[in-house]
């Protein structure tokens, strides 16, 4: 059963209170160092990215006006899909986290930003920034553990409805933005009748307004601009672009907390925790995805999920820079640094979803404490000459 993970093996229980306090200080120091260093080049990064997104979106829409020609369709659909992914993840998600609030620019600020998804920024900020990021992976408190419709951790009690989760999983991939918007409403509270009717109505109106605007834009106005002959093809293109965005963001986000290495916690474990213990829980509860720089930007740097959970309000463009420092702390305190290649992480998640549709299931093996790979001396091929060996490419 799920308690196969022995208490003494659990890093949170193995660390002494002094260790945890020290860890907290070390992690906080990494945060403060970056915070003090933020400046012009960071501002240039987010502004350039926003500008790039707008240019790409505008260009893709223009190309799609000729969508009845297949090359234009492919080019425009790809461009629009990429633009929507950038807008949702590296731009929207991170601005709404307050990562760029330090610039004090009212147009790039968590209190004013709105994004091109079905979620209103206000409800999402509550369910994501507050509930998920504060109570990360605490089963029963963090509603992102299975999003209240799936069983992704053996600690969640099995119910017959979970038998449908292999199908729900695929539907959620395709309709991810709508799933997230409905999730923000707090389905469980509605079912229990705990949700204030007036608040619920207000939030439904908000989603309705956003849905209407997105549907009018993507499925009526822009197709109409392609003329009578192009309407259907542009409509298909826009649906495809939204699907690409949904499937991609679903994959990245599911790989953040549901791979085998990520720990979940009981409410007792998270009760009255110190700042240091909070950091440890964030570290253990998240998992990174390895990839290229482009991959990281396309995933909104949520591929640095560990760093993101330690420092949700740090500009995402800094995660790569601090990752070695986080690893250093992990190694020193014998903690794991959860990470893996994209395909492997994603397959693990799918495996868990299929397995836990049925009763039972046990906690999967966790990653060992992090150890820095031994520094390998790069050997240069050398060419022997009468004067001795010289590097081939000096």
């Amino acid at each position: 059963m799920h308690d196969t993970l022995k208490q003494q093996d659990h890093p949170l229980h193995r660390l002494s209170p002094e260790d945890i306090e020290e860890l907290g200080k070390r992690f906080q120091a990494i945060h403060d160092e970056v915070r003090a260093d933020l400046g012009e080049s960071d501002a240039v990064y987010i502004r350039s990215l926003i500008e790039f997104h707008r240019r790409l979106a505008a260009l893709s829409r223009i190309v799609l006006m000729a969508s009845r020609y297949p090359p234009a369709w492919v080019l425009g659909t790809t461009g629009l899909g990429v633009a929507k992914i950038l807008e949702n993840m590296e731009i929207g998600h991170n601005i709404l986290h307050g990562q760029w609030d330090w610039m004090n620019d009212p147009n790039i600020h968590s209190s004013t930003w709105d994004w091109d998804t079905a979620s209103t920024s206000v409800s999402w900020k509550h369910s994501h920034n507050y509930l998920h990021h504060t109570f990360t992976n605490v089963v029963g408190l963090d509603k992102d553990v299975g999003y209240e419709i799936m069983r992704v951790d053996p600690k969640q009690p099995w119910e017959p409805r979970f038998l449908a989760q292999p199908v729900i999983n695929v539907l959620l991939m395709l309709l991810f933005e709508w799933g997230v918007a409905l999730h923000d409403l707090d389905i469980e509270a509605i079912k229990k009748g705990e949700k204030d009717k007036k608040v619920l109505l207000e939030e439904l109106k908000g989603i309705g307004a956003k849905a209407r605007r997105q549907i009018v834009k993507d499925y009526i106005v822009f197709p109409a601009l392609s003329g009578r002959k192009g309407f259907k093809r542009t409509l298909q293109a826009n649906i495809t672009a939204n699907l690409i965005r949904n499937v991609w963001s679903n994959a990245i986000i599911f790989c953040g907390h549901f791979p085998d290495q990520a720990y979940t916690f009981t409410q007792e474990e998270a009760a009255d925790e110190s700042q240091g213990a909070w950091y440890v829980r964030q570290l253990l509860g998240a998992a990174n995805i390895e990839g290229s720089d482009t991959f990281h930007v396309m995933s909104g740097n949520l591929s640095y999920q560990v760093e993101h959970h330690l420092y949700p309000d740090m500009p995402s463009s800094r995660y790569k820079q601090i990752a070695p420092k986080v690893k250093e702390v992990c190694e020193e305190f014998g903690l794991p640094y959860n990470t893996g290649p994209f395909g492997k992480q994603w397959l693990m998640v799918q495996r868990t979803i299929l397995r836990l549709a049925f009763p039972g299931g046990s906690t999967r093996p966790k990653a060992p404490p992090y150890k820095a790979p031994p520094v390998q001396k790069k050997e240069r091929p050398s060419v022997p000459t009468p004067a001795g060996p010289v590097p081939a490419f000096p």
């Binding site: 403060d32 933020l38 400046g39 012009e40 080049s41 960071d42 501002a43 240039v44 500008e51 707008r54 240019r55 505008a58 829409r61 986290h97 307050g98 609030d101 330090w102 610039m103 004090n104 620019d105 009212p106 147009n107 600020h109 968590s110 209190s111 709105d114 994004w115 091109d116 900020k125 509550h126 920034n129 507050y130 990021h133 504060t134 956003k210 605007r213 997105q214 009018v216 834009k217 106005v221 822009f222 700042q275 909070w278 949700p312 309000d313």
Partner: protein, 356 residues
Amino acid sequence: MLRKRLLQAAQALTTPLLPDDYIGLLDPRWSTREATGTIVRLKPETDGAKTVVIKPSHEWSGHKPGQYLRIGAEIDGVRHWRAYSITSDPNHPEGLVSITIKKVEEGRMSPWFLEQAKPGTLVFLGAVEGTFLLPDPLPEKILSISAGSGITPVMAMQRELDRLDHVTDVVHIHSARTPDLFIFGDMFRELQGRRPGYTLIERITSEQGRIEPKELDELVPDWRERHTFLSGPRDMISAFEEHYEEHGGPETVLHVERFQPVVGDGSADVGSGGTVTFRVQDKEATCEVGVSILVGGEEAGALLPYGCRMGICHTCVGKLRSGKVRDLRTGEVFSDEGQTIRTCVNAPEGPIEIEL
């Protein structure tokens, strides 16, 4: 009307962004999301003071002499705001507007304007505000008391009087450390030669010391019958205000420039606590030492946005309008009008006003 319709139609294409966000890609100055301007000239006045001449991106909505402009600039990636008196004449023929800035050594904005800003630099234009104005009808007898950079609104009003040909009886006492440091000194000296109704009393504080209110009886015996315009450092203002309160007559009118927020000094290690005025909620709260704005506000019955209560989620942010706050996590004290702060981890340091 047609323009509005068109914009609405265009918004269907750009939602959740505005058409302006795309127009701004072509030239940020075309966006109407926020008012911007371009610095066209920086004119040195005295050592350590410059007049910054700005071309607003959109038509200047006008101002009255004596008012100030809230101006924003990006320094190291961060937008900062300050208020400076407008020193240009209303209805400038080329639609330009200017402010005059004296360098504050430990400041952030004034050194930037004096040393970093160049012609072509983009600035953000906030509201024109201020009630330090010439009354209507114009008074016959005026006393202006200014010191240092406090000269700027007085200069704007004096030029207006000159333009209106209403320099009937003005006495102007200005304090500067040396004659060379008198900003617009030449302009006022020239005015004195040209307008018999204008008397300038220059106070050189490095030689004669600071002006005391009790000297008024000797310098301007009829000061009680005049409209007095007072603009200068805070301690000078309080001294004169007190004097006017105690010794003024029934006809005495005192106008005071008070755009500078009153702030506590923030020198104590653990902080001083303070009062919070919630401008939107219309509530007052008192925070003891170490109590966050959020907790203090809730105890006073304000409905404030909140989230994690540990400085992570940015649900609770509000815009600081005046005063100093202390970051409870770092102990750092800062005062930036217009800056958004997290109420859950910041405490007031003396009286503050917040846009919540």
